[in-house]
């Protein structure tokens, strides 16, 4: 809790995310229609807005998955038009799908992602424990998990991958009360450890208490909330 940075605090460092008039397409449709947003290190920014407003696309653009059709953008110092590949390893995106392999166990899933960055066995165990998917649950194939357990496993993969910018799309969906508290604690701890987080969420009450700043996403554009 106390790890959350003061919203009034000035960050002299370079912004983590900086989009200027960004346009991105979903097929032929401009899901982002000139979005401008800046996220500083250590922030937890809440994206708020109705379905179809472009929140998911905004996150996917920041992850370097969706190219910019127009406008400019930098993430963690890399240009989104020319260096998307350099952005990706340092960003963790948790979208509507969890990116888990159903036939592998929880531990194998987390170990696979951790191994990509050379994480040790202890780190894997710590990641599992932190998201409460350790112990006997760790040996269960991912396809047999409940929705909440899958979500927690996916978050454990993010922890194991040591992502610096976390982009979370409706992370609270499908979690029970205890899971949500665990999630919030993990997110705060991640920020304390140097991560920056952007959350898209309907659950304003829950995410709002977590966020250091809230912005509205409307029809593919970003508006700051006073």
């Amino acid at each position: 809790m106390d790890a959350a940075p003061d919203p009034e605090h000035e960050h002299p460092a370079r912004p983590v995310v900086e989009l200027t008039d960004a346009v991105a397409l979903l097929g032929p449709y401009p899901a982002l229609a000139g979005a401008t947003i800046r996220v500083d290190p250590g922030e937890i920014v809440l994206l708020r807005g109705p379905n179809g407003a472009g929140k998911t696309t905004l996150l996917r653009v920041c992850a370097g998955l969706v190219p910019l059709s127009r406008g400019e953008g930098r993430v963690l110092g890399h240009d989104l038009r020319t260096e998307r590949a350099a952005v990706r390893p340092r960003v963790g995106l948790l979208g509507h799908s969890n990116g888990l392999y159903g036939d592998l166990t929880v531990r194998e899933n987390v170990r696979f992602w951790g191994a990509l960055v050379g994480a040790t066995g202890d780190e894997i165990d710590a990641a599992l424990e932190r998201m409460a998917v350790g112990g006997r649950l760790a040996e269960v194939p991912a396809r047999k998990l409940s929705a909440g357990q899958r979500r927690r496993t996916a978050l454990a993969c993010l922890v194991a991958r040591r992502a610096q910018l976390w982009l979370l799309d409706e992370p609270h969906a499908g979690l029970d009360a205890a899971g949500r508290d665990q999630l919030d604690d993990t997110l705060r701890a991640a920020v304390a450890a140097g991560a920056t987080i952007v959350v898209a969420s309907h659950e304003l009450e829950r995410a709002g208490s977590l966020a250091t700043r809230t912005v509205d996403v409307v029809a593919g554009q970003v508006r700051s909330v006073a």
Binding site: P28, P30, A33, V218, A219, G220
Partner: protein, 260 residues
């Protein structure tokens, strides 16, 4: 059929070029029609019958140029793909030339395969021979149909360009491999069942000249088609972009309405 389409520039029509034409393409078009008329006159009229193939040799005056142009078109696709991929500017113009050329190549190859079958029926007595040339051509035909299908997958223009440029270069990798394997296949396993009729027949002067006219005519046609098709592709891209502008404006207007 061709004549009515190509001479869009006869004085009866308006003098200002319309659509994707210019004065240059119009001159080119007229030259193509004239060359085609020559080809018909020489191919069907003036040139003599061959000693072995008799009259059927006349088919070769259209058949050989179309297959050459088809291969030329695929080579142009590959070169243009390379220019897009390795060029510094990533110019979409190269991508359009690659796509237009592949399309023309596929059309020419389709014609080649059918006309080749007709010629084969006259010369060999069968429509299809499992010989190296035919088999390679058929496989390549399918390969480039796949290339055109990938071009239609969607995404932004540059996504399409990158994807299809890579595929255009891979297809060139396939050409020698397929050709080599098919030739090895035929040479080891079946005696050549035909007379020496792979087009390497000894030709007299007039026959050679007819073939020459055919090559000229179809090369002109290829260039004319390439110009028009790549310009049409440019228009398609432009109008798609314009659609994006409208969609963007609509989306922004939508945002204005929501503003409190």
């Amino acid at each position: 059929m061709t004549t009515t389409d190509l001479d869009a520039g006869t004085p009866a029509r308006t003098s200002a070029p319309r659509g994707t034409g210019t004065r240059a393409t119009r001159v080119l078009g007229i030259a193509t029609v004239v060359a085609m008329a020559w080809l018909v006159a020489f191919g069907l009229g003036f040139s003599p019958a061959d000693r072995d193939q008799e009259e059927s040799v006349r088919i070769l005056y259209v058949h050989v140029p179309t297959i050459w142009i088809a291969y030329l078109a695929f080579v142009v696709t590959a070169i243009s793909s390379g220019c897009y991929l390795f060029g510094r500017k990533k110019s979409l113009g190269f991508d359009r030339v690659a796509g237009a050329s592949a399309e023309i190549g596929v059309v020419f190859m389709a014609v080649t395969l059918i006309v080749g079958a007709l010629w084969g029926r006259l010369t060999w007595g069968v429509f299809w021979q499992w010989d190296a040339r035919l088999t390679t051509t058929a496989l390549l035909f399918v390969t480039y149909i796949g290339y055109l299908a990938v071009r239609r997958l969607g995404g932004s223009h540059h996504q399409r360009a990158k994807r299809s440029a890579v595929l255009g270069l891979l297809a060139v990798l396939e050409i020698p491999l397929v050709h080599w394997s098919v030739r090895l296949w035929r040479s080891l396993h079946q005696e050549a069942t035909v007379l020496r009729t792979d087009g390497d027949i000894s030709m007299d002067g007039l026959m050679l000249f007819s073939l020459f006219v055919g090559v000229i005519a179809f090369t002109l046609l290829y260039v004319w088609l390439l110009l028009h098709r790549s310009r049409t592709m440019f228009l398609e891209d432009l109008i798609e972009d314009r659609g994006l502008d409208q969609a963007l404006a609509a989306r922004r207007a939508e945002a204005e309405e929501v503003r409190p």
